[in-house]
């Protein structure tokens, strides 16, 4: 039954106009950014990095698809989460608003199955958006800028990743970013389980995201003890892919921490939803 429910949820989700806002936003805005980077950005970056070019032997273009993709990945802090929350926040609350819980939950299915299927589709949507972003950035980036070494400024250091490794590093970064975005999707899903309109989960999730992000990056001793408990502390895990030596221990620790957050958000959603009186 769970596969049937997932199929139904996928169909319902991708039949909604709202689902495509994220794809349209990425599909329109990122090429525009790339176009401006192509026409104006290259010169600026080239001149500012001329010293690097003089000191190091860089193969290919300095301003290439991989560098542009890494630059665009900075939208993962706020912009992409917002696009994910638009759909994730509507997953359960949208059904409550439309009164369609009464359509689905009067059938011989359990609430657990219903919730799991929705949660899986929620994660699938976040993943698909990131995969689309990856394909667009890399594809269009290679077309417009060509290939070359990946010069990264992640972690405040200049790291030059050879061209032969760049594609793999970008893929790894997107893979980690997907897990990072699952936390956002799960948090929005949690809000969606007890708020009966889509606006509440969107505002709630973004507020927590921004607040936690600020705390996670605040160089103040007073907040240091709290940082390990904030999911935003681990969300930057995708930056690890751009370091010269990949710290797999740190990556696995972050994945575990993010996984715990995802599971905890789901579990809370589950206990809320399972006990919820459907009155809409």
């Amino acid at each position: 039954m769970i596969f049937t429910l997932i199929k139904i949820e996928l169909f319902k989700t991708f039949a909604k106009w709202r689902t495509y806002i994220g794809f349209i936003a990425i599909g329109v805005l990122f090429p525009v950014i790339m176009y401006f980077l192509k026409t104006e950005g290259g010169g600026i970056v080239d001149s500012s990095m001329r010293s690097i070019k003089n000191e190091f032997l860089i193969s290919g273009n300095l301003f290439n698809a991989w560098v542009v993709t890494e630059f665009i990945m900075n939208s993962l802090w706020i912009h992409v989460p917002f696009l994910i929350v638009l759909v994730a926040g509507d997953m359960l609350s949208g059904e409550a608003t439309a009164g369609t819980f009464r359509f689905s939950l009067i059938r011989p299915i359990t609430r657990t199955e219903f919730l799991i299927s929705k949660f899986i589709v929620n994660l699938f949507y976040a993943s698909s958006l990131l995969i689309f972003m990856w394909a667009l950035c890399v594809g269009l980036g290679l077309y417009l800028f060509g290939s070359g070494d990946l010069v990264s400024l992640a972690d405040g250091m200049i790291t030059i990743i050879p061209e032969s490794e760049a594609a793999m590093r970008i893929a790894l970064a997107f893979g980690l970013a997907i897990i990072s975005m699952w936390v956002v999707a799960s948090l929005a899903f949690l809000f969606s389980s007890f708020i009966e309109n889509a606006i509440g989960p969107i505002i709630g999730t973004m507020a927590i995201m921004v607040f936690s992000l600020i705390i996670s990056n605040l160089p103040v001793d007073a907040v240091e003890p709290y940082k390990p408990y904030l999911f935003t502390t681990y969300q930057s895990v995708w930056l690890e892919a751009f370091k010269y030596e990949i710290d797999w221990v740190k990556i696995s620790d972050s994945i575990i921490a993010l996984g715990i957050n995802i599971f905890a958000f789901f579990l809370i959603s589950y206990f809320i939803f399972i006990r919820k009186d459907i009155r809409s």
Binding site: T4, A15, R102, P108, I109, T110, I278
Partner: protein, 303 residues
């Protein structure tokens, strides 16, 4: 002893300090068209929501086909379908897709296209199968609600105010359909309504709920037949009619109001009265039962 298909025991729901329903004990037998009657806000929809476990009861339980809904939900709801309050659908999907989803949720796989279209035809929506539900009127949504309930050939259909928002012809069609389903397909129907005449026309058994409690339950003929109904007779000559009625011991409280006779009698007396008036060459223009739910409640509470 008829098979009990749906049974509730001491079903109650408390919202904060207010009890929406209390001690609801219902028994629906196989083959019944069970009328669940009550005014707006009496607790009908809360009870139906508890039957489907959309709302968790504060007390008691619901048993369908012998399975507890709170413990064996899938088995209990396998052969049940219906509408809870207004029929809501995925408005951005077509009627066909909504039917497909409804069927898949019940059967675990998509129903056959032919079956979906046949069911839509029953409610006159086959030509609109591919239209998005957001373009449908309330009446059309109501009919689609009935169609999705019929799709998987359930044995029990729970309909919550199914004629709400329908035009007179639509209301008549739905009532005819309910009768037909019970008669030809041997379906058991649980029909919630606040319209007494509706229940009177289609139900075989009924329960009346008021202020969250069941105040009466039994066969419709038993409940309606032995009560003092208020009747209004428009006939001439009015004084002659009055004197004929006065001679009948089963007619009480006879009075003339605006050239019409108001009286109280049993439902079963009405044909006899009509016959007597005709025999005495009175001209009858109308005999109507003042059978509003409120009036009926009064007759029950004054018992």
């Amino acid at each position: 002893m008829p098979e009990i298909i749906l049974r509730t025991e001491n079903l109650g729901k408390q919202f904060r300090s207010r009890w929406a329903t209390q001690n609801i004990n219902l028994e629906v037998h196989r083959g019944d068209v069970f009328g669940f009657l009550g005014p707006n806000g009496a607790g009908k929809s809360t009870t139906i929501r508890m039957i489907y476990s959309l709302i968790r009861p504060s007390t008691g339980f619901v048993e369908i086909f012998g399975y507890r809904v709170d413990k064996q939900r899938k088995l209990a709801l396998q052969k049940v379908a219906g509408i809870v309050e207004r029929p809501d659908f995925y408005l951005y999907l077509s009627a066909y897709r909504n039917m497909q989803i409804a069927g898949s949720l019940t059967l675990g796989k998509s129903p056959e296209k032919k079956k979906i279209l046949e069911t839509l035809e029953i409610v006159g929506l086959q030509s609109r199968a591919d239209d998005k539900v957001k373009t449908f009127s309330h009446g059309m949504k109501q009919r689609l609600g009935i169609a999705q309930a019929l799709l998987c050939d359930p044995e029990l259909i729970v309909l919550d105010e199914p004629t709400n928002g329908l035009d007179p012809q639509g209301m008549k069609d739905v009532r005819e359909l309910i009768k037909k389903l019970a008669r030809e397909k041997k379906m058991t129907i649980f029909l919630s309504s606040h319209i007494l005449s509706e229940v009177e026309q289609v139900a075989t058994r009924m329960a009346i709920i008021n202020n969250g409690s069941i105040i009466s339950q039994g066969k419709v003929s038993d409940l309606l037949g032995f009560k003092n109904l208020k009747i209004e007779i428009e006939a001439t000559p009015i004084q002659k009619v009055k004197s004929i009625l006065k001679k009948n011991k089963n007619v009480k409280d006879i009075e003339i109001v605006k050239n019409k006779i108001h009286a109280k009698t049993a439902n079963s007396e009405i044909p006899k009265l009509t016959e007597e008036l005709i025999k005495n060459k009175c001209k009858i223009f109308s005999i109507s039962k003042n059978n509003s739910l409120e009036e009926y409640f009064l007759s029950i509470t004054q018992k």
